[in-house]
């Protein structure tokens, strides 16, 4: 009697477990190493640094090599992920570390480019507005003093002109 009850319980448990799999099929997941997770985070961070550098005024030609480097880091991260899925943790970590190294370099370069571009942009803008004010000042003086300058020029022309005392002809 006890054996029968045990068998019945075993069958029930087996049915419950299998029904759980039917309702929710087993999700194939693989544990990612901390290096792989960091590699992904660093890629995103480097990308954000590039976007910030763009907003600060860094030129496309300056940022193009950084984007190319970031794509290399992305490739390493993808290879690391592939090895991780295959269960080769050693190679996965190696590639993830390479990806982290490149991403960190890109992030630093982007930050440096961004800050120098921002300083240059601020300098250019300030200089442009100072020039605009100087040009306005000179133009205002020129307009206001145009009449006086014209008068001075006319006076100078008069002063330079030869005085004709009646010429060399004598009245006969």
């Amino acid at each position: 009697m006890r054996t029968l009850r045990l068998q019945f319980l075993t069958i029930i448990v087996c049915l419950l477990v299998s029904s759980a799999f039917l309702i929710a099929p087993p999700h194939i997941a693989h544990a990612q190493s901390s290096e792989l997770v960091t590699a992904r985070q660093d890629l995103v961070q480097a990308f954000q640094s590039i976007q910030t550098a763009e907003q600060q005024g860094a030129s496309n030609s300056d940022l193009l090599p950084l984007t190319a480097q970031l794509n290399t880091a992305l490739q390493y991260e993808e290879i690391a992920d592939m090895y991780s899925r295959q269960g080769n943790e050693t190679l996965s970590v190696q590639y993830a570390v390479q990806s982290i190294s490149i991403s960190s370099q890109v992030s630093l370069k982007a930050q440096s480019l961004g800050s120098s571009a921002q300083a240059a942009s601020l300098y250019r803008t300030t200089l442009s507005y100072i020039l605009a004010v100087i040009v306005a000042l000179l133009a205002a003086i020129a307009i206001l003093e145009a009449g006086r300058v014209r008068l001075i020029l006319r006076r100078r022309r008069l002063l330079k002109a030869r005085i004709d005392y009646g010429g060399t002809e004598h009245a006969t």
């Binding site: 976007q51 763009e54 133009a139 307009i143």
Partner: protein, 204 residues
């Protein structure tokens, strides 16, 4: 009288200076401001042998086991660098397609590829896809497809009669920096703009 004239001239000078400063600083602002432009991302798929035969009810078919080397072209005119993801799905003539706002998340995903694209750059992303095998169930043909040497994926539940009129659907996703996740399409001026392509094929 002389003092009054000087005062009058000074007032005139101030008024002139203010007016001209306003004009010249406005011109400087216009010259130094970024020109307005409509942001967009161009997306294309090409093959060295052409894609002329990849249309509905075509007579040509893709042989099982033959790797096909194709290229995605992504043109970034978003005024900022973009992190793009292209998701490849398989469908048939009756499965729903993505639209301007919604991707076809119900269709099986064959593979995906990611790339950083600089502003103003056109990036070419090569990929290889292969029909590894096909099998029939209940009168419908299903395929096992692999992309970029990734593990093969079954097209089920997407199947077709005699392996005709399958579709490869390519969806473009972009990384949204504030939320930290990929979103379908790219942010337009007023709303998200969905971008997708499709290529029809038969399997032999």
């Amino acid at each position: 009288m002389e003092a009054q004239s000087t005062q009058h001239r000074f007032t005139l000078f101030i008024v002139l200076f203010i007016c001209l400063t306003a004009i010249f600083t406005s011109l400087t602002f216009y010259a130094t401001s970024a020109k307005p432009s409509q942001p967009f991302i161009g997306f294309g798929v090409t093959s060295q042998t052409g894609l002329q035969a990849y249309f509905p009810n075509s007579n040509s078919s893709v042989p099982v086991g033959q790797p096909l080397n194709w290229t995605f072209t992504v043109t970034n005119r978003m005024n900022k660098a973009e992190f793009v993801r292209i998701i490849v799905r398989v469908g048939n003539s009756s499965t729903p397609t993505p639209n301007a706002t919604t991707p076809s998340t119900t269709l099986p995903e064959i593979g995906r590829t990611e790339q950083f694209v600089n502003d103003g750059e056109t990036s070419r992303i090569n990929f290889t896809w292969t029909i590894q095998s096909s099998y029939q169930t209940a009168g419908l043909t299903y395929l096992n497809i692999s992309m970029n040497r990734q593990s093969e994926v079954s097209s089920a539940p997407v199947g077709t009669v005699s392996g005709r009129n399958f579709r490869l659907i390519f969806e473009l996703w972009t990384f949204d920096t504030p939320s930290g996740v990929f979103g379908y399409g790219y942010p337009g001026l007023n709303s998200q703009v969905g971008v997708w392509l499709q290529v029809w094929f038969n399997a032999s």
